[in-house]
């Protein structure tokens, strides 16, 4: 297991390195000089040269990449051009919003999808099953940012239960902060829940049809016990896999949702960096979000091996 883990860790490091190279290449090789893009067309030649020197754009690309990676590995992503503070500081503040948002969304989607999927599978063709199928189709088809807007129409401008946007900050008290994350995480969770419901239902049905479950039931194990002890542990592998795969879309969706709700998260930071042409910030945020996705997928791989001994043997 240790050797396997080391090999996987090596692969993880390589993938991270490749992603960073890709991002760096896109941001630096594309036509258009970062300094010119940041300063706009009206900048004087002197200012441009000064910024190029500050950004180190006069050095060869490979050296710049090496320097960027080396300092990024120590947590130093450079200085934001527009905010005038270290990028790592900016990211730290924004993570305090995006991480809870993503976490709540994952929890919510599991809380919705797993009971619904299991219920649908255990009464196949019943009312709950039909509801689950319709729910899954609908929630997958609806764009998260539209769901967000509908939630605002319903709960904010309509009933006034939750704020329509903004984030008071954690220092304003946990409750107010949590309240402002309810609608965003719900909007983010619903499409995920749709996918997860289908997977849960299919996985539970799949396992329920296996011989060992029939044997367990034949020896007199009640339905509920068989479900908890035999079906769910075996059905959990595909569920965890999809949960991990969906994380990519969750992080991508967060960019949109944060913009709808005006939340000062990482996605909003990336968007602001784009509109303000702050290349340094954008490079760092994109790298961080992509790195997050890769690390989560890696953890999912490990979780799968933990859940299914057969995969350990295969790998």
């Amino acid at each position: 297991m240790t050797g396997l883990l080391l090999r996987r860790l090596g692969g993880l490091a390589l993938t991270l390195l490749a992603v960073s190279a890709l991002i760096f290449a896109v941001m630096n090789v594309l036509p258009g000089d970062a300094a010119a893009i940041m300063l706009g067309t009206s900048a004087s030649e002197d200012t441009l040269a000064a910024l190029r020197a500050e950004l180190g754009l006069d050095r060869p690309l490979v050296l710049r990449y090496a320097a960027w990676i080396a300092s990024a590995a120590t947590g130093d992503f450079g200085r934001s051009y527009t905010y005038g503070v270290p990028v790592s500081e900016l990211i730290g503040e924004r993570l305090a919003v995006t991480l809870p948002l993503a976490l709540f969304a994952v929890i919510l989607s599991v809380l919705i999808a797993v009971p619904l999927g299991v219920g649908a599978a255990s009464r196949r063709g019943g009312a709950l099953d039909r509801f689950a199928t319709v729910f899954a189709q609908m929630s997958v088809a609806m764009p998260a940012f539209w769901v967000a807007i509908l939630l605002i129409i319903l709960f904010s401008t309509g009933w006034g239960i939750f704020p329509a946007g903004g984030f008071p900050g954690w220092q304003a008290g946990g409750l107010a902060a949590l309240k402002s994350l309810v609608l965003p995480s719900l909007a983010l969770a619903l499409p995920q829940a749709g996918v997860l419901t289908r997977v849960t239902r299919a996985a539970v049905l799949d396992v329920t049809g296996e011989d060992f479950v029939r044997t367990a039931r034949a020896k007199g194990l009640p339905r509920r016990v068989a479900l908890w002890r035999h079906v769910l542990p075996n059905a959990s592998v595909p569920i965890v896999t999809v949960l991990g795969l969906q994380f990519t879309f969750l992080v991508a969706g967060a960019v949109l949702i944060e913009n709808v709700f005006n939340l000062p998260g990482l996605g909003r930071l990336a968007y602001q960096a784009l509109t303000q042409r702050d290349i340094v910030v954008m490079q760092a945020v994109v790298m961080l979000l992509s790195g997050l996705v890769i690390v989560v997928n890696f953890l999912v791989d490990l979780a799968q091996m933990r859940l299914d001994p057969r995969l350990r043997a295969l790998a």
């Binding site: 784009l274 890769i294 997928n297």
Partner: protein, 279 residues
């Protein structure tokens, strides 16, 4: 192992999905020659009218006809989604077929890792990076969406093609002296067409969602070209006086995605007996 099938699997999904998509395609094509009003025609005096008060579906903050905007938006959304999926599917499938023909080795491993890398940068973010340099627009949107589709199709094509390469008829073809290219084209490609086509319909739904997201962020087609995503973004300012502005474009997006997803499900149920068993 064959069992009698009383009814073809996935039939109603296919029918429902195909009807939705066909209707949207007709609307999109129609918008090229006719819309109730010119989509960009502003009539300030008629601004923010609810559905049926002015035009079928009301007007926006500039008095533009929502029905016409939605129709023109259908063309923009569907054409960008279709083009980017076709590009992604074309490149991805070709790449998957190529590495499957080479078998396991360093090139294959490099391509598959490359897929992981591309997969880690979802379209919204690659569009942001591209948008910063070449500006938002049709090209940026298509490249961003297609670059996310390539790894999807490479993986599918590689996995399916690898199975075909292990078949006896491929061995026979090799014995006849056919090279890897001819075998790929004549024997492997036709046999992986089904999973690839199923995936195309599924990815079309995703591409529409992504295009809408890009337009929503201002990374899609620039104004004045109407897109569903930007209509939604602009509607956010008028949620209280004119909620229909936000409801209608979202409905259009959801309908289009639903249509493609239903077709994808129907096709998968029909052609993939292993998955059909669980549903």
């Amino acid at each position: 192992m064959s069992k009698p099938a009383p009814r073809r699997k996935g039939a109603w999904e296919l029918r429902a999905g195909a009807s939705i998509v066909a209707a949207l395609a007709i609307v999109a094509l129609l918008s090229l020659v006719w819309t109730p009003q010119p989509p960009s025609k502003m009539q300030i005096l008629l601004k923010l009218k609810p559905p049926l008060a002015a035009g079928w579906l009301g007007t926006d903050q500039y008095g533009r006809d929502i029905a016409s905007l939605l129709m023109a938006g259908a063309w923009n959304s569907l054409s960008i989604a279709l083009l980017s999926v076709l590009i992604g599917a074309g490149i991805g499938t070709a790449l998957g077929l190529t590495v499957a023909a080479r078998g396991r080795g360093i090139v294959t491993a490099a391509v598959m890792r490359g897929c992981d890398v591309l997969f880690a940068v979802p379209p919204i973010r690659s569009a942001m990076m591209l948008g910063a340099f070449i500006g938002p627009g049709r090209f940026t949107a298509i490249i961003a969406i297609a670059s996310f589709m390539v790894p999807v199709f490479t993986r599918i094509a590689f996995a399916s093609a690898s199975q075909i390469w292990a078949r006896d008829y491929v061995l026979a073809a090799r014995a006849c002296g056919k090279g890897p290219f001819r075998i790929s084209v004549e024997h492997v490609a036709p046999n992986i067409a089904t999973p690839v086509i199923v995936q195309v319909t599924i990815q079309l739904g995703l591409a529409i969602l992504t295009e809408a997201g890009l337009s929503f962020l201002g990374l899609g087609l620039p104004p004045p070209a109407p897109t569903w995503g930007r209509m939604l973004a602009e509607a956010q300012t008028f949620l209280r006086p004119a909620p229909w502005l936000a409801i209608l474009p979202g409905l259009a997006i959801a309908l289009a995605v639903l249509g493609f997803n239903l077709i994808g499900d129907g096709l998968r149920d029909r052609f993939d007996p292993k998955r059909a068993r669980a549903s």
